[in-house]
């Protein structure tokens, strides 16, 4: 086996591996999106509970969420809770846009921004109603993400490997 053949085989292996990794990555992102959306759903539940029983300020809400291990993947919460000088709603949106939780689409990120945008702008009852409405919207996004995940996760993984193999065969 000469040097050229060795390089060729190595290249083909790299192509197959890269393609498989790409497939796995897309599949992983689907799982991340689903997990992040579910986390946002828990977060809304938590906010509703806080507003109902403790009536904290929006900064206290953000600080409490940032401290919770359950939301450790939401790095944007730390930026919100420490930003004291700019209006909260503005600070929340900025933090979300700078640090979008893993896997979320731009639509999902907009939904997350919207939670902060409306937080603290009305009385407790209206606040809870608004959050419930946002939760309904979120649940349909979760349902769509679940369908996506079931349908596409395995497909992406298989497609990745197969595409790699196909390209390799074509190159041989």
């Amino acid at each position: 086996m000469n040097m050229f053949s060795v390089l060729k085989v190595s290249g083909l292996i790299v192509i197959v591996a890269a393609s498989t990794l790409a497939g796995n990555y897309f599949s992983y992102m689907l799982r991340c999106r689903l997990a992040s959306l579910k986390k946002i759903n828990y977060m809304i539940d938590e906010i509703i509970m806080m507003i109902r029983f403790r009536s904290p300020t929006v900064y206290e809400i953000a600080e409490s969420l940032a401290k919770s291990e359950r939301f450790s993947g939401f790095g944007f919460l730390n930026s919100v809770s420490t930003a004291g000088d700019e209006p909260f709603q503005q600070s929340w949106c900025r933090a979300v846009s700078e640090d979008v939780p893993q896997g979320l689409t731009s639509g999902d990120a907009e939904l997350l921004s919207d939670i902060g945008r409306k937080l603290g702008t009305s009385d407790s009852e209206s606040q809870i109603n608004t959050l419930r409405l946002q939760q309904t919207e979120l649940l349909s996004a979760i349902s769509a993400a679940e369908t996506d995940f079931t349908k596409k996760a395995k497909l992406y993984r298989s497609m990745g490997a197969l595409a790699g193999a196909f390209i390799s065969i074509m190159l041989i």
Partner: protein
Amino acid sequence: MKNREFLHYFSGTAGNAVSGLSDAQLDDITEIRFRVNRPAAVCTYCLKSANCAASKILYITQNGQLTYNPASAVTVTEQDVRRTFEAVCQYSVHSFQREITQGFITVKGGHRVGFCGTPVMHNGTIENIKNINSINFRIARELTGCSEKLFESCFSDGPCSLLIAGIPSSGKTTVLRDLTRLLGGRFKVSAIDERGELAALWNGVPQNDVGLNTDVFDGYGKAEGISAAVRVMSPQIIVCDEIGSKEDFSAIREAALSGVCTVAAAHAADMSDLLRKFPKENLNIFDRIVFLPEPGKVSSVLKRSGDEYV
């Protein structure tokens, strides 16, 4: 400096002008007023002359100077007022619903921010206030030692019930705050701090010195707070600000029956004003009455002798 902490609540161009005020200027200011499309104004202490009601209103220029000329002052916009209001609410309307309907919010440091606008009614009660057009930021101060003479003359023999009366801005709360500190050093005291002006509790920690033995009932209505204090804290003295309703007097009477004295403040210029506002039998709960004719001044203490105060 503690006095500058509240400046971050002010927004916009007018807010920047307020932030430009020097420490020395802030020391003299009692109120900062924002009114939509009108110059930013302040009220200052005016103890030098008795006839100074008009002269104590000053205006703030763009670069943070005080002037008597409103034409050279910075104009407050609708957005400045709205933003300032939002900052005072900590962008959390739901957390201050009760305070908003009452027309004021007490912020960190015990400063009381009053505002006026159009009420939003629901079932005959105020549910919210919209179109806020004026904000009055009353700067709270601890004048340590301002009530020492009063404390010595009234409490040297032990607890007693005292009513501190005065016109608005006469310094009732300031005196009451310092008296709470002194009383808390000697007696078991429960402070019913309905508006957060006595202890200025922030995350459960008093921002003002309320004395070593003072328990703070923060945000309680006066009547509920007094009943709760008598029930659970066994105080020797209850302190509360601005009493006036029948329920307040009824709770104070109940506390007196349990052997608990009350130190309270009420709006009244003099004895005749006090008698016009409150029935005599309500006033008789108090062993002593003191009037604050003007800021920083305490008139002689009236002692109850039978049904009369002499």
